[in-house]
Assembly symmetry: C2
Homo-oligomer: 295 residues x 2
C-alpha cells in the first residue's frame, strides 16, 4: 500500500476513508481532521485559554499534542484517581510529555483534595467504579476549569467513545442523555464550556498518531474497567465497522446533524453543599464524597 498523498510506502491504512498514509501524511491527516472539527463546530480560537483533561492515555495526550502543534494555548489538568500503580504510572507519562514540550500542567490528587480514592468510592457507594470515576472527573475538571478562568475545557473523547455512548443512549432511548450528548456544551452558570475536538478520529487512529508521533502513553487499561458498558458497546460497534467501514462516523455525524433531541433542559439550582448546579438539593458529587469519606 502507498500513501495517498506522496505515494511512498504507507504506514497506516484508514479503511473508512478508503486511504492509506505514510507516517508524516498520517500525522498531517489526523491534525487536519481535528482542525476541521474545531472550525466546523466553532469550538474556540487562538485567543482562547484552553485546558484539557488528561488521563495519560493515547487520546488525551494525542489531542494535547495536536492542539499544541496547531498553536492553541492549552494547559492540562491531571486528576490522580488513587487507583494504585495505574494512577502513579499514568501521572508519570503525563509528566514526561509535559516536560518534553514545556507545557503547563495542574495536578489534582483526589485523596488529598477530596479525601477519597475511586476504589474507596466504588466500595462505599452502589456505583460501579466507572460511574464513580466519571462523576468525579466531570465535577472536578469543571471545578478546576472554572477556578483557572479558562474559556473552555477540552475533552479527549474519540469517535469510538462518542459513538458507543450514543449507541448506549439510543438502545435505552435516554432522551435526556441524548439531548446533552453534544460536541460543544456551551457555558452556563457554574458550568464551563466543554468541547470534544477528537470526535472525527477513531480510537485506532489516535493510537497510531501517538505511536508515530513518539508519544509515550499508558497502554494498560484501567484495572477497574471490567464490565464497562461503553466498552461493551465499542466491541459491538467494532464488528459492524469491520463489515461496513465508515458506519461509526456516519452514525455519529448523522446524529449531530439531526439534533432532534432538544429536550427541555433540566431545572438547575445550587447544591446546598458546594453551590454548583444540580437538579436535587445536594449534587451527586457531594453525595458520593460524603459516602466515600464516611468511614
Amino acid at each position: 500500500m502507498r500513501c495517498r498523498v506522496c505515494t511512498s510506502r504507507a504506514a497506516v491504512e484508514v479503511r473508512r476513508h478508503n486511504a492509506a498514509f505514510c507516517r508524516d501524511h498520517f500525522i498531517d491527516h489526523v491534525v487536519r481532521q481535528v482542525e476541521r472539527t474545531i472550525h466546523e463546530f466553532d469550538m474556540f480560537d487562538h485567543t482562547d485559554r484552553l485546558v484539557i483533561g488528561v488521563s495519560g492515555g493515547k487520546d488525551s495526550l494525542a489531542l494535547w499534542d495536536i492542539l499544541h502543534r496547531l498553536g492553541y494555548r492549552c494547559e492540562g489538568i491531571y486528576l490522580d484517581l488513587g487507583i494504585d500503580a495505574y494512577s502513579t504510572e499514568s501521572g508519570e507519562y503525563i509528566e514526561r510529555f509535559v516536560k518534553e514540550r514545556d507545557l503547563i500542567l495542574r495536578v489534582v490528587d483526589l485523596q488529598d483534595a477530596y479525601g477519597f480514592t475511586i476504589p474507596q468510592a466504588a466500595e462505599s457507594t452502589r456505583r460501579s467504579p466507572c460511574s464513580a470515576c466519571g462523576l468525579s472527573k466531570r465535577y472536578i475538571l469543571n471545578e478546576e476549569a472554572l477556578k483557572g478562568g479558562y474559556d473552555a475545557l477540552v475533552m479527549g473523547h474519540n469517535l469510538d467513545d462518542e459513538a458507543a455512548t450514543l449507541f448506549s443512549n439510543v438502545l435505552n432511548w435516554s432522551v435526556e442523555y441524548l439531548a446533552r450528548q453534544k460536541v460543544v456544551l456551551p457555558a452556563s452558570d457554574g458550568l464551563v464550556k466543554k468541547v470534544k475536538p477528537l470526535v472525527r478520529v477513531a480510537e485506532r487512529e489516535t493510537a497510531a498518531y501517538a505511536v508515530l508521533s513518539g508519544i509515550d502513553y499508558e497502554v494498560e487499561e484501567c484495572p477497574m474497567v471490567a464490565g464497562n458498558t461503553v466498552n461493551r458497546m465499542k466491541e459491538w460497534m467494532a464488528l459492524l465497522e469491520h463489515r461496513s467501514p465508515g458506519v461509526t462516523q456516519h452514525f455519529l455525524g448523522g446524529f449531530y446533524k439531526v439534533g432532534s433531541f432538544d429536550a427541555a433542559p433540566p431545572v438547575l439550582r445550587s447544591c446546598e453543599s458546594c453551590g454548583r448546579p444540580t437538579t436535587g438539593e445536594r449534587c451527586a458529587f457531594c453525595r458520593l464524597q460524603e459516602l466515600a469519606t464516611r468511614s
Copy 2:
C-alpha cells in the same frame, strides 16, 4: 428445565423472559403476548374485518393462526411474486393452511395482475430485489385491502424484524422513516390502517410457535435475499441479544414509548397514473411497473 406454569418438562426456553414453557403453555404465552399487543395499542376489536398479508413463512402463518384462535375475523392475501419454485411452494403451504382451518384467502399473481415478476423488476430497475419486493408488497396489499373494504391490514413483522429496521433507521438517522415506523399506522386518504401485532414475539419464538402448533411453513429463505440490509442488522442485533437477553425488546419498546420522531408528515397528492397517494407526480410503484414491463 421445567415449565414456568405447570412445572412439567419444558419444550422452549425464552431467555429474555427468564422463563421456560411446555408445549401448551408456550403456545399460550405467545398468544397472550399478541393479545396484549393488540389491546395495548388499541389495534382492532372483534367487530373489525381484518386482512393479513401472508407470505407462507412462519411469521404470517403463526400470526394468522393466533388471530384465528383469538376469534378475530381475519382473511388473508397472498401475493405471488413470481420467484420460481420459491413462490409456488410458498403458495402451496398457504393453501394447505387455509384448507385445514377453513379460512378465506385472496391470491394476487404479480405477473397476471401487474405484468411483471420480482426478478424482472430487480433486473430492469436499479432497485435491489428486496426493495422492489417491499415496494410492490406495500402497494398491492394496500390496494387489495382497500378494494376488499377491510378495517385493517395486519402485517406479520416480528420483534426482530422491527428492531432491525429501527436499528438501520437509527444508524442512518432517517428521521422520516423513524417518524413512520409505528406499530399502528392509522388510515388516511387512499391508505388502509396498518397494524403489527407480532412486535412482541421474537423470530425464534414464532418459529417455535409454528412448529409446536403443527403449522407447516416455507422454511427456505427467499433465494433473492442475499445482501439484505435488515438481515444484516438482525444478525448483528442477535449478537447483542445473546449477551444481553431482552435488549432487543427494550430497544424497540423504548422507541414506541419515546415516540419523539413526529416529523411533519409528507405532503401527498394523487399519483397521475393510479390515483394513490404519493409525494411526486407518479408513485414509486407505477414507475417500477413501467420499467419492469417495458421490454
